[in-house]
């Protein structure tokens, strides 16, 4: 029986690898989902078969838990695509919670047996890692989901206070110390208390870890949490001596790692910089010194300029996602295309609220794939563009990243909207953007501002004159 179970696990592990391989190419992506579903089915069937043969119980309860999980999971898959980042964060939280619960149960079981052989040091090390990662992923992801959902009681701006990093690192060190003590003497009478302390510290650390992080940095953070959720599953595999868990968890961890690195690179930040500070940690200057005054224009003349253009490049950003303006953008796209104008979308890797979010939003509005152009490619076209229309994007088009070594975002790859012949910027308010960084693009001689909600303004632009 054990050979059968391990055989199924082996096939499942191979299918998980194929699933990721296929998912990295648009042509085979859907096959990747099929392979993933097949692998998960084999894993569950194999486990249940092994448990049945091994005298497992509580199957009615397990069935009920699965049914409840499916009932909760189905509506979570039907959310609007603008809410996908929250959903993803929420499911990282579920993943972390599951790992934490299993880790706690395993420790409780081993300790309750009173036999040191039940908890060898290696197993305890794996359990401690699993619980630490699982618990901090749980609270951290819940908080991230709440921030993305923009719940009212939570400030959107990063929360910082003096000594924050020292406090966070101190808490982490304390948690690691407790974990170390458990590894050295897992059967000590204070073991359970120590374990509980570890859980509480990890839960607290998850909250403190996310508090200083602002909405604009969510793409990186959500990728890091993705990696943590995977690593906690891998640690569970090490603790349970289950190779399938190790493989699947490691795959998830490496995927999260790659996405985090890509997001960091797209913002020209190092990993440590992202984790330990500088998020919104800008000098509280007495209001930014404006480099000039805004020049405004009417929607009608903006529409006219675009209708007369040969090439219009639209730069959508975070603001477009927040205003849910993608369907209005599609109407504008249709209007311009009917007049023979070439329209392209410039997609910055960190535009939107999670990696790749902008592509999904524009895909939902049925904008063709080939008109979504990546940063490097669109920068070659922008000098020939007659109009660049910036919708709710700020830092990703800030030329200071190219020219001003003193700017906090200096060195970040940007979309060169300032190289277009004429620039229109749709902006919600006159205040500087989310990060509080002044954008010289807004004050160029060829830049005109259209103030207002992105959805409303784009809707007016798209109206047939």
């Amino acid at each position: 029986m054990n050979a059968c179970v391990q055989g199924l696990y082996l096939v499942a592990a191979g299918l998980f690898i194929l699933s990721l391989r296929w998912m990295s190419d648009p042509a085979t992506a859907r096959r990747g989902v099929t392979a993933g579903v097949a692998a998960m089915t084999l894993a569950v069937v194999g486990t249940l078969a092994g448990l049945t043969a091994g005298g497992g119980t509580h199957f009615a309860w397990i069935l009920a838990a699965c049914a409840a999980g499916a009932a909760a999971g189905y509506p979570l898959a039907q959310v609007p695509l603008t809410a996908v980042p929250q959903r993803t964060a929420l499911s990282h939280a579920f993943g972390g919670l599951a790992a934490g619960l299993v880790g706690a149960a395993e420790y409780g079981l081993g300790f309750g047996r009173g036999d040191p052989a039940a908890l060898p040091s290696f197993t305890v090390l794996a359990l401690v890692t699993e619980v630490l990662l699982g618990c901090l992923t749980f609270t951290g992801s819940l908080l991230a989901a709440a921030k993305l959902q923009e719940v009212r009681w939570l400030p959107q701006r990063p929360l910082t206070w003096p000594g924050q990093n020292v406090l966070n690192l101190g808490l982490l060190a304390l948690a690691l110390g407790l974990g170390g003590a458990l590894v050295l003497s897992p059967m000590a009478p204070w073991g359970p208390a120590c374990f509980l302390g570890l859980v509480l510290l990890a839960l607290l650390f998850g909250v403190l870890f996310i508090l200083p992080i602002g909405g604009a940095d969510m793409p990186t953070v959500i990728s890091i949490l993705n990696a943590f959720a995977g690593l906690s599953a891998a640690a569970m595999g090490l603790a349970l001596d289950n190779r399938l868990l190790v493989v699947a968890g490691a795959l998830d961890g490496s995927s999260g790692l790659i996405l985090s690195v890509l997001m960091c690179r797209a913002m020209n930040r190092s990993f440590t910089h992202v984790l330990f500070g500088a998020f919104g940690r800008l000098p509280p200057s007495g209001g930014p010194a404006p480099a000039g005054s805004y020049r405004e224009d009417t929607v009608d003349s903006a529409r006219q300029a675009m209708l007369e253009a040969g090439l219009v490049v639209i730069v959508p950003g975070y603001g477009m996602a927040v205003a849910q303006a993608q369907h209005r953008v599609r109407e504008l796209y249709d209007l311009l295309r009917r007049q023979g104008v070439t329209v392209k979308f410039a997609i910055h890797p960190v535009a939107g609220r999670m990696p790749g979010h902008m592509n999904v939003l524009l895909a939902e509005a049925e904008i063709p794939c080939e008109d979504l152009v990546e940063l490097e490619e669109i920068n070659r076209d922008l000098p020939q563009a007659d109009v660049a229309l910036v919708i709710g994007a700020n830092d990703v088009v800030n030329p200071a990243a190219r020219t001003d070594p003193g700017s906090p975002i200096f060195g970040m790859p940007i979309i060169d909207a300032d190289r277009a012949r004429l620039i229109y910027v749709i902006k919600r308010s006159r205040r500087p953007g989310f990060a509080g960084i002044e954008n010289p693009l807004h004050f160029l001689d060829k830049t005109f501002m259209l103030f207002g909600d992105a959805k409303t303004v784009v809707g007016e632009l798209a109206r047939q004159a």
């Binding site: 579903v37 091994g54 409840a68 299993v102 990728s223 891998a234 063709p368």
Partner: protein, 112 residues
């Protein structure tokens, strides 16, 4: 030395082999890095939703905990809650990934 392996652990296939598992972890990490290295930027969001569902493989551990016989009820309860969480992720993760990929496909079909 064969430890006093409790009969209720289905994963008990001989003594645990930490180094073996460590090697598997290392190799799987590199396989993952190489498989995803060239992921299209178009697919970042679906990829994360898919790996969400894959990391719900924790359901295996949750089932093992929940189904063990003769355990204190609180252990079984933790296991069942973990089964619930993992199932939620499996169902929502795969479904939403498929939903997003359908959008991309429809778009490809619509374009000449």
């Amino acid at each position: 030395m064969p430890t006093a392996a409790p009969p209720d652990l289905p994963a008990a296939h001989g003594a645990p082999d930490p180094w073996g598992a460590g090697f598997v972890f290392m190799l799987a990490t590199f396989v993952g890095l190489m498989a995803i290295q060239r992921v299209s930027r178009l697919l970042h969001t679906p990829l994360m939703s898919l790996t969400n569902a894959i990391s719900a493989i924790a359901v295996v551990g949750a089932l093992i905990v929940a189904a063990g016989p003769g355990r204190p009820p609180w252990i079984t309860a933790l296991g069942l809650l973990a089964v619930f969480c993992s199932t939620t992720n499996i169902v929502s993760g795969f479904l939403i990934t498929d939903r997003m990929l359908k959008l991309f496909r429809k778009r490809d079909g619509a374009s000449p």
